[in-house]
């Protein structure tokens, strides 16, 4: 019998070892916080909110290089053709689905959507005021990202939550569903009452997205959807809020370091002038003048930072500007001709050449005071300003039949530009006003597409590139593109291509036509 005592003891041990090990198998990871338990305090939720602003800020480069090049008023620029072949392809309309900057913008927008979805999936808005505000912010950023995606790619996949590995392959989105998401997000954000507002036009303290910014992009989105009256109504609320007015200083200084958070801007991405926390941005260097070929004394006298001269305005744009405004205050504060540059000591050095036609952007000149460290900038990027709100609202009112209101809004802009009022506006007046007021700010390309004006404007681009010589002459040379391989093609360029890698990996997505 004794032997069986041992036997029983062992059997008991055997059972014991099998039981209740599952607790021991759960071992917490050191040095990290799990996504599942985070987002439960205000401090944690604030870090998710900041993530939205950081992701949005990182899109500044694409917004301001890619989109102006697509709108036909700019050469790729740089030293000469081939200096940046990626930008050449954009400006020449020879890009394909492998294009890095188009793919990069697409990916960046979905990165922002992921940051927003993380909040919308994880943060309970009922937790606190911060939680409520963060959720509203996430809705604003997600809606804006989808506005960009719909207006440029047509049918981007609808991703409204953080995807699990078995969900990575998403089909093209349905435009109605996509717009519905944009509308709902913005309505919810506006209605939440959680978004901050400025205390008045002089308030420079609000750096977050505001209720008025949410309304502004909602109004813009409604116009894109053809809901003109609703659009006008929402945008009127922004204008009548009394919290914004057109910039009251020198026209060409709106975008300078001293005028961050000025009364006109609805939303800026913040680049601090803080050498201890510099933020990398190549954009200023890329789009600044080609300083190595310009008079160094002038460069130094004007405090201009090194630049490479990409996204250079076309002479046609300059000429149109002059034709529209006359040789006006706004033109001179926006874009300079070569004679004016030389006069200011900013001419080319002897025998220098550069790509372009001898006209130079002035309103967003890149000065040294904007660089806290090398390859960094302290220049905020303005995503929306009141001038655009006026012009979008004007178009909405016009389309909704309220020409008087439209005229009033356009004249607000013209007065600031110091050009005469119009008695009544047409759509063409609004188009022109937008083209010159918002040039190289990255907003026009989608307008052109919506208006259906891109084909006429861009059908022949990509054949020739200009070389500007120090003596003021311009020569044009052949880019080497066959005519049928460059320029805007109907049935194709209405939309941008989905990134090739997405199509390779995602057999659910149908590439846009022609790519």
């Amino acid at each position: 019998m004794k032997r069986f005592i041992g036997f029983i003891v062992l059997l008991a041990a055997l059972t014991l070892s099998a039981a209740s090990c599952s607790d021991l198998l759960t071992i917490d990871q050191h040095g990290v916080v799990s996504v599942d338990t985070y987002y439960s305090t205000d401090a944690e939720i604030e870090t998710a909110s900041s993530n939205l602003y950081i992701k949005m800020r990182s899109l500044e480069g694409s917004a301001i290089t890619l989109k102006p090049l697509l709108d036909g008023d700019f050469w790729a620029g740089g030293g000469q053709h081939g200096d940046n072949s990626g930008l050449d392809k954009i400006a020449e309309y020879t890009f394909d689905s492998e294009d890095g900057s188009i793919g990069g913008y697409f990916r960046g927008l979905y990165n922002l959507i992921f940051a927003a979805n993380t909040i919308l999936d994880k943060v309970d808005p009922g937790l606190s005021q911060v939680a409520k505000r963060t959720v509203a912010e996430a809705q604003v950023f997600r809606a804006w990202a989808y506005f960009e995606l719909i207006s440029m790619w047509g049918t981007p996949p609808l991703v409204d939550h953080c995807l699990q590995p078995d969900e990575y392959k998403q089909p093209n989105g349905d435009p109605a569903e996509l717009w519905n998401l944009v509308n709902t997000d913005l309505q919810n954000a506006i209605a939440s009452g959680a978004l901050p507002e400025k205390s008045g036009v002089g308030d420079k303290s609000v750096w977050r997205v505001t209720k008025q910014y949410a309304q502004a992009i909602y109004g813009k989105a409604l116009l894109w959807q053809g809901k003109n009256a609703e659009s006008a109504q929402v945008l009127d609320q922004v204008i009548s809020s009394g919290k914004y007015q057109l910039f009251d200083g020198e026209y060409g200084d709106r975008n300078t370091m001293a005028n961050k958070f000025n009364c006109e801007n609805l939303f800026e991405s913040v680049f601090p002038n803080d050498p201890a926390n510099p933020v990398t941005s190549f954009t200023g260097y890329m789009m600044g003048w080609r300083t190595d070929r310009m008079n160094p004394d002038g460069i130094s006298a004007w405090g201009i930072e090194m630049g490479f001269g990409f996204v250079a305005p076309t002479r046609a744009f300059y000429d149109a500007f002059v034709a529209h405004d006359g040789d006006s205050y706004r033109r001179k504060q926006t874009i300079k001709n070569y004679e004016e540059m030389v006069e200011m000591g900013l001419g080319l050095i002897p025998d220098a050449i550069q790509m372009g036609e001898g006209v130079y952007m002035w309103k967003d000149r890149y000065t040294r005071d904007k660089t806290p460290a090398m390859w960094c900038t302290a220049k905020n990027y303005t995503w929306m300003r009141l001038a655009e709100v006026y012009l979008v609202a004007a178009e909405a009112h016009l389309a909704a039949g309220n020409t008087a209101k439209a005229t009033e809004y356009v004249n607000q802009i013209r007065r600031k530009a110091q050009i005469p009022d119009l008695t009544s506006v047409s759509l063409n007046d609004i188009k022109a006003e937008k083209r010159f007021e918002l040039c190289r700010e990255g907003q026009l390309y989608q307008d052109l597409q919506r208006w259906g004006d891109t084909y006429e404007k861009l059908k022949g681009v990509g054949m020739k590139e200009p070389i500007f010589h120090e003596n003021g002459s311009i020569t044009y040379f052949d880019c080497g593109n066959p005519a049928d391989k460059c320029g805007y093609k109907k049935g194709k360029h209405e939309l941008l291509p989905f990134p090739a890698n997405e199509v390779r990996l995602n057999d659910q997505i149908v590439q846009n036509p022609g790519y």
Partner: protein, 1026 residues
Amino acid sequence: MKSVFLRHSVLLAVCLLMLSSVSAFAQTVKVSGTVVDETGLSVIGAGVIQKGTTNGVATDLDGKFTINVPAGAILEFSALNYVTQELPAVDGMKVVLAESIESLNELVVVGYGVQRKSDLTGAISTVKESDIVSRSVASAEMVLQGKTAGVQLFTNSARPGAAPAVRIRGISSNGTSDPLYVVDGRITNSINNIDPNDIQSMEVLKDAASAAIYGARAGNGVILITTKNGKGDGKISYEGQVVMQSLGRIPSVMNAKEYMQYYKEFGKFDDAFYSANWDGHTDTDWVDAVFTHSLQQRHKVGFEGGNDKGSIYTSLTFLDNNGMFVGDSDTHKRITGMINATYKIKPWLDIQLNNQIHQSSIRRIPEGGSETNRESNNAVLAALQLDPLTAVRYSENNLPANMRAILADPTKHKMLGDDQGIYGISAFNLNENVNPLIHRDAQYSSTQTFGINGTAALNFKPIKGLVITSRLAYKYGAQSTYGYSIDFYATDYVKQNYVGLEARNNVSRYYQWENFANYSFSVAGHDFNLMAGTSYSENMNNYVQGTTMGSDTDLGVLSNNPLYYFFAYATPTVARTLAGGETIYTRNNSYYGRASWNFKNRYIAQVSLRADAADSSVLPIANRWGYFPAVSAGWTLSEEPFMSGAKRVIPYLKLRASWGRNGSTANLSNYRYASVITSVGNYPEGLTGGYTAASSPSSTGNNALRWETSEQIDVGFDARFLNDRLTFSGDWYQKTTKDLIVSGFTSSTIVGVSESPMNAGNVTNSGLELEAGWTDSVGDFHYSIRGNMATLHNRVTYLHPALQNGIQGVTYRFAAITRFEKDFPAWHFYGYKFKGIDSSNGEPVFEDTNGDGVVTVADKTDIGSGIPKINYGLTLTADFKGFDIVVFGSGAAGHQIFCALDRVDYAVNKLNFVVDDRWTPTNTNGTRPRANAGGYTDWMQSSANVYKGDYFKFKQIQIGYTLPKRISEFVKISKFRLYASFDDFFIITKYPGFDPEVAGIGQALGVDMGAFPNSKKMVFGLNITF
């Protein structure tokens, strides 16, 4: 091995046989004799039959027999597990029976039990003690090479103390594919510190059904190690071995004259430069200068004994290997002790204890920065690349100009040297690899390892046929690494102005508790064995690591004296780092079971299932459980009645087939599936100057992440012919591993964050394995021949579409030269295909593989693989009147080696192979590029430097002599054997580098970047048993 029980049953069987067949004869002589085995022990129950008749007897308990036969008759002596012998009948004859190579009744260790070899249904190879003793290898892994089909060894360094990577049936993963080791039931990932002489046998579970009992960790095969148990009535033994090592193959590089000519053609140096910097006679052979003769010695003392109540085996082994790099900077010292004991406490209870203690100390010379980048700080590569114009040492008053300039420059600190002079610094070749002696002396590193591990098991036998085992396995280990680097100057790239210190201490503790029961019973001629059990294991690891690093203005230590090279004497201002200090646990919980069925030894079948749960650092909680089933069957045709007629020719023939599923969690540790919060910087709060921290999920997280799964089918046979003298077995297998853990890619742009690792790759390995043996005796001359051969076909069959160019592997001169890519072998070579030399200009010409008219990087293509398609081994043994001989060799074929020993940016020395037939204006038909060819780097990375890796190496040629017992017993010694051996001495290969056996592992599979080669060894040994 052969238990008392077995011998008795043999006796019984033979007696029964005899009873039925004995008959009487007239006109006879009476012949008596004794039958013994090779160790002199009596063979009980051996059959003694007059040839061609049914007249026969069996030997008694003392091995003695008496038989009446006609004068001049021939007697046949046979016994199970011995080779049958025929001898003329002579009264008083003493017959020595040789053991057959593999005995069918031999017990083979399988997971959680033992099985008779005849009952196996899977592919299990065994390496026995006889293959291990008297070898000069220090690590147990090396014993496997060439002895079993289907096991490949890959080595990236043969320095003292290094262990090779073992691959069973191919490369199954883009990550780790190490097999699982089970030592006396203890699961471990390394057997490097077990002295091979303490090993009784190693069983390699190759097929999935055999390995499946180890479930989630068995996907790369399982190696079971059984350490020795005490035998006999008290033995004291001494085994001593002295090994003289030297470099086996010396690659041929340019001598001074050739070097000067080459770099003159190159345009790098002119005669004026040579005469200003070369003394006119130095012609250093660096390889010869840095590799020398060295000594390894090993001494083992053992005490053992055993009877039917219990046994004890204890041993103490001391190993001291001073590697062949000149000086004492490459050493491996190890003391291992083993205490194994068993005791039958009650008829129904026995206890079994296995304990092993080891302490080792390893020092190594620098062999390159990391496993995948070995191009710099590599003393071995330096020996090949250094110019012959620089001497190893110079006396201080006879320095060349460049060294005089260094000496005169106070900013350049000190040049290194020893009492024979200052180490030469080249004026010609200033790359990151300098005089190997400088690399050796500029840093010091030593690793001390201590470990105690083992198992303690209780076996209860409450009723007949039931054995319940409770087994605790444990391992306690401590490792301490200490190193420093000193201030010195060699070149502007290889210098340091301070003393750096590094120390790391690591403790680990592992235990594993397993309870399982085996129950054997028979019902109506059907034999069953059922096994079920549980297992729980926990591993704890904790390390603390610190470094200090001085600067140009801070020496880092209070005094520049090795006595101050410790943290305690670091300067207060020195930069310090600290890491570790956290206790990391991993745990595992498992259930497993197996049922075996055997009917008349004809039909055998087995099913098993293991369920494993990994802890949350390995797998998400929701899918922590894995289930690993297996099924196998065997059919012993030779036991069928219809085969009885053929029994004389084919005494044994079995067909086997198995299928099983295994897993591998080796690449899953450290929460790879988890999505955690990471900081992404901070965002400015407008104009306030304040910031808000920002964070984001690090990755998508992948809660569907699972272990890599292998499924394998295996069909095989075992056969014996000609009275068991010839044995033969073969297997064909196909192993498909899916769900490889792949990371570092973007699967889709719309996901919005970097993806967590995914299960996104498949690999297939398939092959044929054959093992054959022949054993025979002619009088006192016994001999055997054993060979094995395995083929391997390895292919990556699927990889996530995001990795259409594969996973990039090791780089050589800034281009990845290996890739893990769909439709190719794992980590195949990738580069240009070399077509020839343009006779007009000496430039290399490459194939335009995509036919677009120009050669661009897009034309790079598959140019070989480091995985041998065939591995084989051959062992011959023979003995005659006390003399014995072993010849053992192994080889590999059908693979390539990427010889990555060159560069163009410095005036490095080169293999003669790549410069001898170079294009020159007078040799326009040259087959190698001209010096300073524009495409030289592309050529280096091309198929031109991919060589056939085929080799055959004589691993062992050993001659031994055992003193006749009558002499040795005179001095109370029961056995006295002396031997001499040439190990790794001869190699047949066309590879021009050091050693085709040492050419990278993992991503660098088959890439020779200048690693420590194997030595050739002369071994002298002595075994004495009292």
